[in-house]
């Protein structure tokens, strides 16, 4: 530690000796080279070239300067007698061979045989991001990252090459510096989207992200490879003087748009008309529409503009033996819904020490803490409840506060009603606190040249607390007050031992690894809830104050993995590459007869440009064909799924005797096994003039033994059960282009990627498919069935509105309702005159036809301008907000389109008449399924880099200021808040829904970055 201080001090001090000042320019074959290091050998002091490649340095009279830059050969130049220099650096062909991290090792980028997308930190941080998943969105083809909720700290969904499971996890495996990350789940004491496991990693600590997409790349991860693997490598210290980096950004977030709603008078008129049309009494609350005026705009009451700050500090450096990297990050964000905010802090230390010539040890420690004060949105289970839905549905005729200054208690238009969203936001407390420690220590022993043994032990621990309190003066408190606390914690330890052997024998090159891995993951939770609070002041911090203890539950689960792995990369003549890999994975969660599985892969590549007929080519600098085939698995089901379990029950015999019991919980299935995915991938890479690279992959992914929590007949005593039934496939094409169009004074880079994926269930043991849980009383709105892709929406097809004078007798009808003029007509596809389940048709699908990302950056002198567009095309959204807000029944507020409703004097064919009859309220139709295609201007950033020459005599080596805008522009036809919405996004049976989510935002940011 003392050394560190001295290093810092040294870098800040100026020396005085007999010296001359020299100046010069460092260039490469394309022009000036900014950022090259120029060091005087005598004093060991140096500088870095500025934007124009120029430098100024004090040297001794007889000195040598060392000029170096990553990827170039280092030059030493004797200064004697000269004061100006023009230094041309030569590319270091060996160093330029960028390494790509693959599972349990790395290979030269040129020797990659699988389908891997690399995203370096520069590209990731080109946009203002607060988590790694934000940084990779749109930047790798075939990787669809979706932020369905705008709640601070909430989780995205990441889908690599489509959806390949119905029950197992869909998320890729994240591996941080070789350690698989576990994903904690919410216990559910608070309602809201799950927290993001990636929040524990500071994106600024990340050196590179590699996305392994095809089976030949992921087979080395066996039962966890089916959804792809994302390898995150963090920055480590390097040899050289310490560099300090300080980074700050401040942002302001805005609601992108409001949904136009009826005002108080308009709702009352609608309500009266609905009552008249249904032949029921008008409601007294709507007695005098004209006197109600415009009323309250509940959206304006709950949304606000909100700030966000991000501070980063890092220190990196080292010497030959010891290298260190320290970093810290503090992030704070207010949500755009009142009373929601989020804070997180990350701290990381990476240390490497050479113990001897042969032995090196290293460690990483990552600490993280997040605190979210949320509001109720996106509740994942139970009654769909959300502040945003309440704000939309609440009667604008009611004020936020009544005449006594108390919050208006509840809505008065519906039964059962909902609570005042403003009072719910301010008065209820929902806090999630999460702490996480990730650490690993490894030892690498170079046994003989080329042969390395590595052992690594890693731990990942999390401690989460969820607390919620609904006071007794808030509607959801049901006049008594409710509190719930959930504590969950877990850990994973993993011990891995690998032996690698890399050697070239003449024309043959060999890169092999064998290894063994053991992992235990354990988690437990404790959930307590109480109600009946006389006093609202203490809330969840004194849960014992609740007179009625409503719930007390805990649970522990543990799973184990034991694996053996191996891989051989063989190259012949630097032209032909072959990769063979296999993993044997044993997992505790499967049935007794099915604990172990083997996951092999094979890949081959041909580097065509190394052949004689291309090796002299000026235009084609690289050309490669890759073919990979392999098998991977998905074990993402809970522990103990294969066992027949009993659960504790309780009955009461009189008022004194409790009869505890044990009843059936799940049925035994010893045959339960992992899902198997076989994938074949054909890829082609080409690079023209070292400036234009083009990569394309075509793949087919077939998954069998799909695990399905399939509904079973109730006569079995169960509702559903996990079974290996079904098959599905994904196939697709993806490509990316990177072009360095200009590279002189103006540097202009463009990159574009695009991916098409098609998904289909090829076999499903359930003939009628799997119907998702009803939403808002709508049954069968999405069904997973054989021969169809996942994510289909079903409902009725509308056919305009019944007009006056039409022959009602000829119009198809639901048996429980006789239609009238002004009601919607639906198509009777079965032609039996009656509308029923048989008449439902396919209304759309939640999967996009294609997804794309487009980024460009332009640099001129000190200015950088970058822009990033991202989008999806061809997907539909089941807009349940719209379903609710176009009810036209006067039982809740409706969107402003209700003004265009049918009346005898406005015989529109678009919107039906007002009608309070409840039986017409749950017809889900094509009017509720909307095109969800969008293109978003994710980011536009303008940065100014201060001229290095200005800092000549200071310790400052680099400074940058920037301004950026996020989501400033969205091109879409979608009518809701945001087409990217994805309520239930984690559930393959019902994703692609808009209902009461926390809206996403547009953001303006300014910030700076300085390096010492």
């Amino acid at each position: 530690m003392r050394n560190l201080f001295i290093l810092i001090l040294l870098s800040c001090t100026s020396y005085l000796t007999a010296q001359t000042v020299i100046t010069g320019t460092v260039v490469d074959k394309y022009g000036p080279l900014p950022g090259a290091s120029v060091v005087a050998k005598s004093s060991n002091l140096g500088t870095i070239t500025d934007f124009n490649g120029e430098f100024t340095l004090k040297v001794n009279n007889e000195d040598t300067i060392i000029v170096s830059f990553l990827g170039f050969l280092t030059q030493e130049i004797i200064t004697t007698g000269k004061t100006t220099f023009e230094i041309m650096l030569q590319e270091d062909v060996n160093q330029l061979d960028e390494l790509v991290v693959i599972g349990y090792g790395s290979v030269r980028k040129k020797d990659v045989t699988g389908s891997i997308s690399s995203i370096d930190s520069e590209r990731m941080l080109a946009t203002v991001v607060s988590s790694v998943d934000q940084g990779i969105q749109g930047k790798a083809p075939g990787v669809v990252v979706n932020f369905g909720s705008g709640q601070p700290g909430s989780k995205s969904t990441v889908r690599i090459r489509g959806i390949s499971s119905i029950t197992g996890t869909l998320e890729p495996l994240y591996v941080v510096d070789g350690v698989p990350l576990i994903t904690p789940t919410n216990v559910g004491a608070v309602s809201g989207p799950s927290m993001n496991a990636l929040e524990s990693i500071n994106p600024r600590d990340v050196e590179s992200v590699e996305v392994l997409k095809d089976a030949s790349a992921t087979a080395i991860y066996g039962t966890r490879g089916a959804n792809g693997v994302i390898l995150i490598t963090t920055k480590r210290g390097s040899d050289g003087k310490p560099t300090v980096n300080i980074d700050y950004s401040g942002s302001m977030q805005f609601l992108r748009k409001e949904i136009p709603m009826l005002n108080a008078m308009q709702l009352a008129q609608l309500g009266n008309e609905a009552a008249d049309n249904a032949g029921v009494d008008r409601r007294t609350i709507y007695a005098s529409p004209i006197n109600l005026g415009t009323g309250t705009n509940w959206q304006q009451e709950i949304f606000r503009n909100a700030p966000m700050h991000n501070v980063q500090l890092s220190l990196r450096g080292g010497n030959e033996k010891t290298k260190y990297s320290l970093s810290g990050n503090y992030f704070t964000q207010d949500g755009i819904i009142i009373s929601s905010n989020y804070q997180k802090a990350n701290f990381r230390i990476n240390l490497d020490q050479e113990v001897s010539d042969q032995v090196k040890i290293g460690t990483s420690i990552n600490l993280n803490r997040n605190v979210l004060n949320g509001v109720v949105t996106d509740a994942e289970s139970g009654i769909p409840s959300s502040i945003t839905s309440w704000a939309l549905e609440f009667n604008p005729g009611l004020p936020v506060f009544d005449e006594n200054g108390e919050y208006t208690y509840s809505n008065n238009t519906s039964n059962p009603p909902v609570g005042n969203p403003v009072s719910d936001a301010y008065e209820t407390d929902q806090t999630s606190i999460s702490s996480r420690i990730l650490g690993n220590i490894f030892l690498r022993w170079n046994i003989i040249e080329g042969l390395n043994f590595k052992t690594s032990i890693a731990g990942d621990s999390y401690f989460n607390t969820e607390k919620s309190f609904i006071p007794n003066n808030v509607y959801r408190g049901q006049e008594k007050g409710q509190a719930a606390i959930a504590d969950s914690n877990g850990y994973s330890w993993i011990w891995e031992n690998t032996l690698t052997y890399n050697k070239n024998f003449g024309d043959h090159s060999l890169n092999t690894v064998i290894g063994q891995s053991m992992q235990v993951m354990r988690n437990e939770f404790l959930l307590v809830a109480a109600s009946d609070f006389d006093d609202n002041r203490l809330g969840f911090d004194a849960i014992q104050a609740g007179a009625e203890k409503t719930l007390m539950a805990n649970g522990v689960s543990r799973r184990q993995l034991q694996s053996y792995l191996g891989r051989v990369n063989y190259g012949y003549n630097n032209k032909y590459l072959l990769t063979l890999s296999a993993r044997i994975d044993g997992s505790s969660v499967f049935g007794d007869g099915n604990k172990y599985g083997v996951f092999p892969s094979l890949a081959a590549a041909w580097k065509i440009h190394e052949e004689n007929f291309l090796s002299e080519s000026e235009t084609i600098s690289e050309m490669k064909i890759r073919l990979g085939i392999g098998r991977v698995g998905n074990e993402g089901i809970p522990p103990y799924s294969s066992l027949g379990l009993l659960e504790t029950t309780e009955a009461y015999f009189g008022e004194n005797e409790i009869g505890k019991g044990s009843g059936p919980h799940s049925s035994k299935n010893t045959n339960l096994k992992w899902e198997t995915t076989d994938q074949i991938d054909l890829g082609f890479d080409v690079n023209f003039l070292d400036r234009y690279t083009f990569t394309t992959d075509i793949y087919v992914k077939k998954t069998s033994d799909l695990l399905l929590n399939a509904p079973v007949p109730y006569t079995s005593g169960y509702k559903d059960a996990l079974q290996n039934i079904g098959k599905l496939e994904n196939k697709g094409v993806e490509f990316s282009i990177n072009a360095n169009i200009l590279n002189k004074t103006v540097v202009w880079d463009v990159n574009f990627n695009m991916a098409f994926n098609r998904n289909k269930i090829t076999k499903l043991a359930k003939q009628d498919g799997i119907t998702a849980e009803p939403l808002l009383g709508v049954n069968g709105w999405t069904v997973v069935e054989e021969g169809q892709p996942i994510g289909n929406f079903y409902g009725f097809q509308t056919d305009g509105i019944i007009q006056l004078g039409e022959n009602i007798a000829e119009i198809p009808y639901f048996v429980d309702y006789s239609p009238q003029p002004g009601d919607r007509k639906y198509v009777d596809t079965s032609n039996d005159g009656i509308l029923n389940e048989d008449d439902k048709v396919l209304l759309g699908n939640a999967n996009p036809d294609f997804s794309f990302g487009f980024g460009t950056s332009l640099s001129y002198k000190n200015w950088d301008l970058s822009m990033f567009l991202q989008g999806v095309y061809g997907n539909e959204v089941a807009n349940f907000n719209k379903f609710s807000l176009e009810s036209f029944d006067g039982l809740k507020n409706n969107s402003a389109v209700a003004l265009e409703r049918w009346t005898p004097t406005n015989p529109t064919n678009k919107y039906p008449r007002a009608n309070a009859d409840p039986r017409r309220s749950n017809t889900f139709s094509d009017t509720h399924v909307e095109d969800g295609s969008y293109m978003k201007l994710r980011d536009i950033t303008l940065a100014y880099n201060f001229n290095n020459s200005k800092f000549k005599n200071s310790a400052l080596s680099n400074a940058k200021i920037f301004a950026s805008g996020k989501n400033l522009f969205v091109l879409t036809n979608y009518t809701g808040y945001d087409p990217e919405v994805n309520r239930f996004g984690e559930d393959p049976l019902r994703f692609g829904v808009d209902y009461g989510s926390y809206p996403t935002t547009k953001i303006f940011t300014i910030g700076f970055n300085v390096t010492f």
Partner: protein, 500 residues
């Protein structure tokens, strides 16, 4: 030398790799739940397995926020039978309940589906006890008693099933795979036969010294239920015999005053033959039945007085209210039309069903100790009267005695017998049958009877139409409910009832 060194090191490294793996590393041992393979071994296991059945009856095992929360008796048993009749209207803005109340439901109705689910989950839990407990080494009397409890409950479930759906799948053993459970509907006669066998077994094996009453069946509960089952089946002589057995046992009698029946202090006593026991006192969470939450009027709670969390979802039809003689003790006991606060202010309102609310014991309603009465003595008397009338093609003296006992009690206003509801006599077969139906209506509001009474007497359409109940439009097909569509899509062997 160098070569040897290398070989040694490599060997050492490989050994390390292989050593770190052990054979029992992947064994799973659940920590928070019991592995069924390690259960059903001891007497306490047998009791625990039997106790579990009662949770299926009362609250079910679904999560609180799941649609299927609550067992049959939590609310659907007593809600459905009265909204599917001329007794009650539904006011909750849920199309599922509305459809039932207005006879516009179809096979997708979620309440019907959940009813079916609860029936078969309870049957499954019973079958486990019936199959596994006999294999446990324990006292034989106790063992048979536990099996008898399970068979009693199983018979209740099949009785509910056969009344609501007609032919139903009949599973009399624990199925261990889903194929075995995917069976066709058995004819009603076979289902009745199984019900009767279960009840006979239960009656002769329920002991007197072990787990007596308080929500658990007794031999007389078996006899009582048998009389009801035979009546539904049309076996009138057998029905009368079983009812007579209960009457002659002298274990039960009518309270003098109708209001005593549902007083909390009288739970499981005197008139109650079998009741599904709930306890607000002992339970945590939302486990008490929903009588007060669903039936008592909303908005009465002020300053800590009046029922909390009350919604008044099921309300009586005017026709029901008006069918009572204004002085009939049962009218004021059944309905609540006003509420008086401690400061003397009184609010009046249209009638709600307040018969289950013991205001003195539970002034705030909501979380209640109230049990759901399944079988009480007045029911046995009226079954006896109805069966005798059927056997003899007209009422007998004993039939008059039985029905008049119920009428007499209704005259008692707490202090004196009023000159109303005179004893019946001299009625024809048809008139007596109508009289029984009417008496049952007045006696058993919201006790899970009305729909079945109307269907059994063939008067569902006539009576509901006559009640002028809003948009209700019953048809003959509604004498049975539809087999849930979900179940049919998972089991292609299931046929649908006519008209659905």
């Amino acid at each position: 030398m160098k070569k040897q060194n290398f070989t040694l090191r490599l060997f050492g490294a490989l050994t390390i790799l292989i050593l770190f793996s052990c054979s029992d590393f992947l064994v799973e041992e659940p920590l928070s739940m019991i592995d069924a393979d390690k259960f059903y071994k001891t007497e306490s296991d047998a009791i625990a397995a039997t106790n579990a059945i009662y949770e299926y009856l009362t609250v079910g095992t679904e999560g609180i926020f799941e649609e299927g929360f609550g067992g049959i008796f939590f609310n659907d048993y007593w809600v459905m039978k009265d909204i599917l009749s001329d007794n009650c209207r539904e006011t909750i803005t849920s199309s599922e309940y509305q459809a039932l109340s207005e006879f516009k439901f179809n096979a997708n109705n979620i309440r019907i589906e959940l009813y079916w689910q609860d029936l078969y989950k309870t049957i499954f839990a019973s079958n486990i006890v019936i199959d596994r407990v006999p294999l446990i080494e324990m006292d034989e009397t106790k063992r048979n008693h536990l099996v008898a409890e399970a068979r009693f409950i199983r018979s209740m479930m099949y009785f509910e099933g056969v009344k609501l759906f007609g032919d139903v799948p009949l599973l009399l053993y624990e199925t261990t795979n889903f194929e075995d459970a995917t069976v066709a509907r058995s004819p009603k006669a076979k289902v009745y036969q199984a019900i009767i066998e279960d009840l006979k077994f239960a009656q002769s094996n329920l002991s007197n010294g072990f787990r007596v009453g308080k929500g658990r069946p007794t031999p007389m509960a078996c006899a009582g239920l048998l009389s009801k089952v035979y009546l539904e089946q049309g076996e009138y002589q057998l029905s009368a015999n079983a009812a007579k057995q209960v009457i002659d046992s002298n274990e039960y009698y009518l309270w003098d005053d109708y209001v005593e029946i549902f007083k909390l202090k009288n739970a499981n006593k005197v008139e109650i033959i079998f009741a599904i026991n709930y306890s607000g006192t002992l339970s945590q969470g939302f486990k008490p039945n929903q009588y007060h939450v669903r039936l008592l009027p909303s908005g009465l709670d002020k300053n800590g007085e009046g029922p909390e969390n009350a919604w008044g979802w099921e309300v009586p039809t005017e026709d029901l209210y008006d069918s009572f003689n204004p002085l009939d003790r049962r009218r004021d006991a059944t309905f609540i039309t006003s509420f008086t606060y401690s400061d003397g202010t009184t609010v009046e309102f249209d009638p709600y069903i307040g018969k289950f609310w013991d205001q003195e014991e539970e002034p705030n309603g909501n979380n209640t100790d109230s049990d759901v009465v399944y079988l009480r003595y007045a029911d046995i008397l009226l079954i006896y009267a109805e069966a005798l009338n059927e056997i003899n093609g007209g009422p007998t003296a004993e039939a008059y005695i039985a029905i008049n006992a119920v009428r007499e009690r209704a005259r008692f206003n707490g202090t004196t017998y009023l000159p109303i509801l005179p004893d019946l006599n001299g009625l024809s077969y048809d008139a007596f049958r109508d009289a029984v139906l009417e008496e049952r209506r007045l006696e058993f509001v919201m006790e899970g009877q009305r729909y079945h009474d109307l269907v059994r007497m063939g008067k569902l359409v006539e009576k509901v139409n006559g009640a002028n109940k809003g948009n209700a439009s019953p048809m003959e097909i509604h004498n049975l409910l539809p087999i849930p569509q979900r179940e049919r899509s998972l089991n292609s062997k299931l046929t649908q009832n006519t008209g659905y």
